[in-house]
Subunit: 297 residues, 2 copies
DNA sequence: CTGAAAGCGCTTACAG
DNA sequence: CTGAAAGCGCTTACAG
């Protein structure tokens, strides 16, 4: 059992009150007492129970630090400075060794088990569907820079295009930054191309909807003139006109599995430290049509 | 004051024990009692005090969810699934509206105040120093993909090269992935170039040290044959041979300022929501030398 | 089915 | 300078 303040007090031969003061308000006790209590605390590895303290003082006085990676000599000094400053303000920085699961965007790398999907596969499914309809000039509107999901979808798009022997030259790939305005701008650039794409794979449904809106505003027919596939399967695509064909990412299942993993980790069950990749699937709706053979005639 | 279970019990005309059961163990109370307690709780907006509960049950039974961005219709369903599953396991997911400050890597965007440095400026200072020594073929070994710091340093490198009228063609930019092995590999590629760079700006000191090691192994003299500038000013560069010239990033000050900001935010002080950019500075050590005029002679 | 009581581990007036 | 006691807000045996 983790030692309590009462244990420390007994070891040091003082009352709990004095032990508390010696540790968190040292000015209030005699030098010798302070030393005795601190020694006792150190020898049994006492650490204050923050839950109890918080309940008592009606504040947590705690700052949580989340650090993306540890394998970098840059961090120790930063962390120490954070702790020192926090301490000077009467706050503490717990170093919780808590179980963690990451969902979808694996920013902590493989050191932390993740639950998500294969985002390269998401892109591959989308591109293959468009290619199966005869499209060859398939553009990509990518998501937020620095977002792993978005980067992997772009990578998957490039890989799929290469495997299919289709051109994925630079002008066909535009960043939509994961936002509606970015996607609209990207779509305008694609439409301004001398050799327009006949299909677009957008990294998110939200961006696909914005891109389709641009087409509608310009009298370009979806899917008659240009086809769209999104990814995620969010409500906006479902209720767009035409309804958006998309690659479904099973959010409900991902959330449930992530929690099961996390609780498994908390309970020390085996096999919970592995990554978990859930299947995705194409949802056919109205935003895609076969490539028109005589489009240039 | 936030209502306690005792308030709810009084409103419902039952004991605290019964109120507790009605809320967290409903099977144990009569239907009518349960309804009365729940109505009372709802009418005063009662929420269980998790600190008190945790102290009592000796577990927190709480899962913390950290979500990078909210402006995405993908998340609500995921979050609901997480909560539902957690609840089914007897865990709760608090929705803490806590003050947050981000340090250095602004992954949450400008919605969350950040404390850091201007990483484009970091790169610019490094490149300008090398250019001032006469170097023109200045290479860049970049950091981890998807890391904003690394991307901004690369962007700053490109911008500085352009402003100085120096060539920053693709072959001069290599990803070191922020790791020693990646940097070593990148350095080997740079050395294999027909027209070798005479200077290298590495996105981190750690990578610069690894790159310098590659040179030493091949009998290439630093700084006689090739100059290096790192960034961060971590201990590895300081003790490298030759000691690494670098752009100092003030970690101590960043940590202190971040905590001050955060506590200011907690205390509701004004002006704490702005981003804070701390100055960086060049630290001259032994890894740079003037470009040799007659290098090709 | 319900209530009175104990207690989780601390901190802090209050006495001495 | 130190200790006994109260109490933060809950939950849960134990009685009834």
């Amino acid at each position: 059992m983790r030692p309590t303040l009462s244990d420390v007090a007994k070891m040091a031969g003082v009352s709990v009150a004095t032990a508390s003061r010696a540790l968190s308000n040292p000015d209030l006790v005699a030098d010798s007492t302070r030393r005795a209590v601190r020694d006792a605390a150190a020898s049994c590895g006492y650490k204050v129970n923050l839950v109890a303290r918080s309940l008592r003082i009606q504040r947590t006085n705690t700052l949580l630090v989340l650090q993306p990676c540890i394998d970098n000599s840059f961090y120790p000094a930063l962390l120490r400075s954070i702790e020192d400053t926090a301490l000077a303000f009467g706050y503490s920085v717990p170093r919780p060794e808590v179980p963690v699961v990451q969902v979808l965007d694996a920013i902590y790398g493989s050191a932390v088990p993740s639950v998500g999907v294969d985002d390269e596969q998401v892109a591959e499914i989308a591109v293959r569907h468009l290619a199966s309809l005869g499209h060859r000039r398939i553009a990509h509107i990518s998501g937020a820079t620095g977002c792993l999901t978005s980067e992997q979808r772009q990578k998957g798009y490039m890989a799929a295009m290469a495997r299919l022997g289709l051109p994925a030259d630079g002008e066909l790939v535009r960043s939509g930054s994961g936002r509606r305005d970015g996607a609209a701008e990207a779509m305008k650039q694609l439409l301004a191309l001398p050799n327009r794409p006949t299909a677009v794979f957008c990294a998110t449904d939200t961006m696909a909807c914005a891109a389709m809106d641009v087409c509608r505003d310009r009298g370009i027919h979806v899917p008659g003139d240009i086809s769209f596939v999104g990814a995620d399967n969010t409500a906006d695509g479902q209720f767009a006109f035409p309804a958006l064909t998309t690659v479904h990412v099973p959010r409900i299942e991902i959330g449930a599995k992530a929690v099961e993993r996390l609780i498994g980790l908390i309970r020390g069950q085996a096999g919970m430290a592995q990554d978990m990749v859930l299947p995705v699937e194409l949802r056919l709706r109205g935003s895609c049509a076969p490539m028109r053979a005589a489009v240039a005639a």
